[in-house]
């Protein structure tokens, strides 16, 4: 499994997000997916970009703490019930979902979802067995 997610800590201030995307834009970093988890004071922006290491380098020293972690991205059909099918498999296996967000498979125009679950390794095995296709970084190009 090899989809890498970049997480960035953000103070909740007007313009802070634009500061961040400006740096990404200046460095030619393309966003395949983006989501924010937030409280009143903070946000954590999670995104998928083609070259996570480049993103980290671009942000270092600019006042943004970014880190890379592994996530599970699965290809789904662009039809009603497709997300439900995946989540049902996980629920049946007693695996919880910490967060989930939609992702673009730009080359093929297909949909995908990215997840962090309570047991990534088992989720990966169960979904593969059920015939769900796991994405690699290249699929998201």
């Amino acid at each position: 499994m090899a989809v890498k997610q970049v997480s960035i800590f953000l103070e909740n201030e007007t313009g802070r997000l634009a500061d961040l995307t400006e740096i990404l834009a200046e460095n030619g970093i393309d966003l395949n997916a983006v989501t924010i988890a937030e409280t009143g004071e903070y946000g954590i922006l999670r995104c998928i970009v083609q070259n996570p290491e480049d993103a980290i380098k671009a942000l270092a020293g600019k006042g943004f703490m970014a880190s890379i972690s592994d996530v599970l991205t699965v290809a789904i059909d662009n039809v009603p019930g497709a997300v439900n099918k995946v989540l049902q498999i996980l629920a049946d296996a007693g695996i919880g979902v910490k967060y989930i967000y939609s992702t673009i498979q730009s080359a093929k125009g297909e949909a995908a979802i990215t997840m962090k679950t309570t047991d990534q390794e088992r989720a990966e095995n169960i979904l593969t067995k059920a015939g769900i296709r796991l994405c690699e970084m290249e699929d998201l190009k």
């Binding site: 997610q5 997480s7 800590f9 954590i44 006042g63 703490m65």
Partner: protein, 433 residues
């Protein structure tokens, strides 16, 4: 071993007798030789002969660092320039440095104070004293040097810098005692570890660290990293330099050389003396100084005093570590708050750095206090729960320490502006109309 049993182990009555005799003498001397202070005494309506008991010291006016600034450079010198054998200096408040002059006897007393301190730490004539304080106008290097010479130790006048060479000498000369600032000791400890040298490969056993505030976590790192016992040595240029007080192996406060430097604790607001054991501003009177005596000099340092015989055998009054400075003291919701308290809390969390700012404001009729603190660089944050639980833990610790609630706001590493020299830690936005 005790360097000067007669003074360091004197019973209370004897000590007070010595102190009173010397106080009367120094006040008379100051009155006769320093017109500026004589005018202050006249204004307060007190004459040298009014000092009949030690308690009468409260009649005397204070000397502040503003007085030093006004009298720059040598207006408070009591001795003639021909009798001044040394000048030392430290930074002043208004851009002009503080200039202090010493007679030969002042130099000897200073060396005596440091000699007592070194002996207290178990250092003697058979030891190698590695002095890594800066040499020059700063009192650290030359002060520690003179004390180490006085006890007959083998002195290595290293001064600061060139850490690789410091480590080479520590190893090759088998240094027993290290004297430097705590932050430099930490730098040396880290370099020692980096060089793959184990603490047990060094002969070092004691360190005398002072001249700046330091935290318990720094102490632990230094003690572990160098395999030593760390001692506090306190002093200030205006009073003499390092050695005014030093902590013994019992590590239960710093023994004040009170036959030379008479300590008082006063309430920084009312300026009234506080009873033994209460926390307030430390005030010193130099009992024997000739070059530039200081009568009731307000140090701005906040601490408390302890009486009673120490397990080491000494009977001198001990002072606690310095909690903060009155210059930095904030009064929030009627409670005294020191940035150093906040710093101690921050230091407990590896996830945080000492890059912080305290913001005080007033909403309606109520004060608010907020801590902005940077996360440690390289910390991976992918979880809002982590941030929230950190916030709870830090706020809880702050409430325990400050006795009032303090809101915490986390910042990305590297976002607070860095200043050269002393960082601006506090921003007080309250307006008093």
């Amino acid at each position: 071993m005790i360097w000067n049993k007669e003074m360091e182990c004197a019973d209370r009555e004897t000590m007070r007798k010595v102190q009173l005799e010397r106080l009367q003498e120094v006040v008379k001397y100051e009155y006769e030789h320093v017109p500026y202070y004589a005018a202050k005494m006249d204004k307060a309506g007190v004459r040298p002969e009014d000092i009949r008991t030690l308690e009468d010291i409260e009649l005397l006016p204070f000397i502040t660092k503003e007085d030093l600034a006004v009298n720059y450079p040598t207006g408070l010198f009591a001795a003639k320039m021909e009798d001044i054998v040394r000048i030392q200096s430290s930074s002043g408040t208004t851009g002009k440095p503080k200039i202090v002059g010493y007679t030969q006897r002042d130099m000897d007393d200073w060396a005596e104070s440091v000699a007592r301190g070194l002996t207290m730490c178990g250092i003697g004539k058979n030891d190698v004293a590695h002095i890594s304080y800066g040499y020059g106008l700063f009192t650290g290097g030359l002060g520690a040097h003179a004390g180490a010479e006085a006890i007959g130790a083998t002195v290595l006048p290293m001064s600061t810098g060139n850490t690789a060479r410091q480590i080479m000498f520590l190893q090759d000369m088998k240094s027993d005692a290290l004297c430097c600032t705590p932050s430099y000791a930490l730098t040396i400890a880290e370099a020692v570890e980096k060089a793959g040298i184990k603490p047990e490969d060094l002969q070092l056993r004691a360190g005398l660290f002072g001249a700046e505030p330091w935290t318990q976590s720094m102490r632990n790192k230094i003690e572990k990293g160098l395999g030593i016992r760390a001692h506090d040595i306190y002093g200030l240029t205006e009073i003499t330099g390092p050695g005014v007080s030093t902590s013994c192996i019992e590590n239960n406060g710093m023994h004040v050389q009170e036959d030379l430097f008479y300590p008082e604790i006063v309430d920084p607001n009312t300026l009234k003396q506080l009873p033994m054991g209460e926390t307030g501003e430390l005030v010193f009177t130099t009992l024997r100084k000739q070059g530039m005596p200081m009568i009731r000099y307000r140090t701005r340092d906040i601490c408390y005093l302890m009486e009673g015989k120490c397990a080491c055998g000494r009977t001198t009054v001990r002072m606690s570590r310095v909690f903060g400075r009155t210059d930095d003291m904030l009064i929030v919701k009627g409670v005294n708050v020191f940035p150093s308290q906040v710093e101690t809390v921050i230091a407990k969390f590896d996830e945080l750095t000492l890059n912080y700012k305290i913001l005080v404001d007033r909403k309606g009729n109520s004060d608010t206090i907020e801590l902005m603190v940077e996360f440690a660089d390289g910390l991976a944050i992918d979880d809002i729960e982590f941030v929230e639980s950190m916030k709870k833990r830090v706020e809880h610790e702050l409430r325990d320490s400050l006795q009032i609630g303090c809101k915490v706001r986390f910042l990305n590493a590297g976002t607070l502006p860095r200043s050269e020299g002393k960082a601006v830690r506090v921003e007080d936005r309250r307006k008093y109309e």
